[in-house]
Amino acid sequence: MADTPMIEIDAVSRYYGIYRALDDVSLDIAAGEFFSLLGPSGCGKTTLLRSIAGFDTPTSGDIRIDGHSAIDLPPNKRPTNMVFQNYAIFPHLNVEENVAYGLKRLKLNADDERQRVGNALEQVRLAHLSKRKAHELSGGQRQRVALARALVMRPKVLLLDEPLSALDKKLREEMQVELRTLQKAVGITFVLVTHDQYEALAMSDRIAVMFGGRIAQVATPKEIYQHPLTRQVADFLGGMNFMQAKITSESAVNLSVETTRFGNVTIAKPKGFTANNGQATIGIRPERLRVLWDDAKADCEVTGHVVDRHYFGEITHLIVDVPGLEKPLSVSETNNFGADDIPVGAPIRLAYDPDALVAMAD
């Protein structure tokens, strides 16, 4: 990260009338990084991606790509290429001609062009379909054409706008692995826009979570999942059991809190945290609560009874009412030990690790 970042988003805002699609967004993306912009629809992630590509012009701020300001460059002059959400395969051209489309501008000799197209098609495993037209391709194959068509230009940055959203679940999971492998192989910067938390977690080096035109948190998938800075981020990425706790002492980096059922704990203070009437929002992920069977013991336990149960195949979600908590706890337990057979109404003991508790800004 000592080098110049590949992409520098510098105080970018985008207004549509009075609506702020992007509100003073700053962000650095390193060369060779797989970076995801994650958020619900309307959060500004697509506007940001299109601003990097040159299809949208920010109202203020600067975008530098590889050290040079790109803000005044049209899309065809930027060292970026894009994979569109609907793939935008040219319907009047076959696979090979689609991939060669951008190369025609470069006026390569015929052999070089053929070789680059061939290599790009190999890369996405489509060489055998090079003469097919768009309407003869499946969704997954179209996506590969779109990838090859962009990669063959050897861009510094590949931009992907929800590239997997049109695929069915099985294919989507396959393509996640494949995209990640491809990115490692070509070594260029990928910027992915997605609203799918699992996609972002599975593929990215780093994720920026966006809400309402602002970036809420930028971190590695693990960091963002385990230490969400805000309640909103925690809620968007997976489940979280929220509760209020009384702050007993506060340092620059830590908070000591008194909880109703999870004892007194000292936990890391998130950036931008402000106490609310001496109270803090803390939480624990459903899978960090473990069912204690029979007479098993744990250092930290909470007790309650099951009020509802949802079966998901490999796991079961148990809804556990704990006296003294404002909301029942959601518990995610694997079905190895029979969590799917726990009857509703049964008393239950849950073990937890105090380190699993996190504090979040509201």
Partner: protein
């Protein structure tokens, strides 16, 4: 998957279909039959096979003059109406604006106006303005008449043209002009050609406007109308009519094939939206 399970077969269905088709096509079939009949009258029984009516057409300079007029008018009308319709169709399919539905409605409404009324009012205007009747006035009148047809072909052709295709082209380094030439035009070309063919065909067969506005330069339908006064000329007219029908069928079929191809292409391009 087949319809056999859904529809109960009836013995009467083939009869009905045959009668239906006969009603549609028998009158038209009479034309070519009598045009090859070796007799001046159009009555059965047929008198024998001849191509002399066609040969006579070839030497008929007045008819050839009318054919030339029709060709000029047809080409001008198809280019003018398609050109105007391209702009309107693009606006209607590409942009969202206030009064979009009303505008589309107004553009298509002339389809339902009684043609004779339109012809009379056009004649009145032309005479008021002191413009001399000529092929130019026919061209203007028929352009107005063909516009909704061209528009409906083009709107169906442009609808679903995916804007991201143009963006993808720009993204791959192509200029705006290059994008128009390499992506926009080829993708919508079948619809444009289809619109040209449809407009040409309508112009070729159009009688009322041409009759009112053509002055001393008749188009083919006007010429045919004039010939009907002479019974002896009838077989020649039938031969001419046969040729015109054949040409119309070829043009419209080609237009329809192209229109469908354009539609399928656009569907294929945008199919990933689902």
């Amino acid at each position: 998957m087949s319809g056999r399970h859904g529809i109960r077969k009836s013995r009467w269905l083939p009869v009905y279909v045959t009668a239906y088709l006969a009603f549609l096509y028998l009158p038209i079939l009479l034309l070519p039959i009598f045009s090859f009949n070796n007799a001046a009258s159009t009555t059965f029984p047929l008198a024998g096979f001849t191509t002399k009516w066609y040969a006579a057409l070839w030497g008929n300079t007045v008819m050839l003059e009318a054919a030339r007029n029709s060709l000029i008018v047809g080409i001008c009308v198809s280019i003018l109406s398609t050109g105007l319709a391209i702009c309107a169709a693009r606006a209607v399919t590409r942009y969202k604006f206030r009064g979009q539905r009303a505008t589309t409605g107004l553009l298509m409404a002339p389809l339902f106006l009684p043609e004779i009324i339109v012809a009379v009012s056009l004649l009145m205007i032309v005479l008021q303005l002191g413009i001399e009747l000529s092929l130019a006035t026919v061209i203007l009148g028929q352009t107005m008449f063909c516009l909704p047809y061209a528009l409906s072909v083009l709107i169906s052709g442009f609808d679903g043209f995916d804007r991201s295709l143009e963006e993808a082209s720009l993204d791959l380094g192509e200029t705006a002009i290059g994008t128009f030439r390499r992506v926009t035009l080829p993708v919508v070309a079948p619809a444009i050609i289809s619109s040209l063919l449809v407009s040409f065909t309508i112009s070729l067969d159009e009688f009322i406007l041409a009759f009112f506005l053509s002055g001393t330069q008749p188009t083919l339908p006007v010429y045919i109308w004039g010939q009907l006064r002479f019974a002896a000329k009838l077989p020649s007219v039938l031969a001419l009519g046969t040729l015109m029908i054949a040409l119309s069928i070829i043009l419209v079929t080609t237009a329809e094939i192209l229109r469908r191809r354009a539609e399928n292409r656009l569907k294929a391009g945008a199919a990933a939206h689902g």
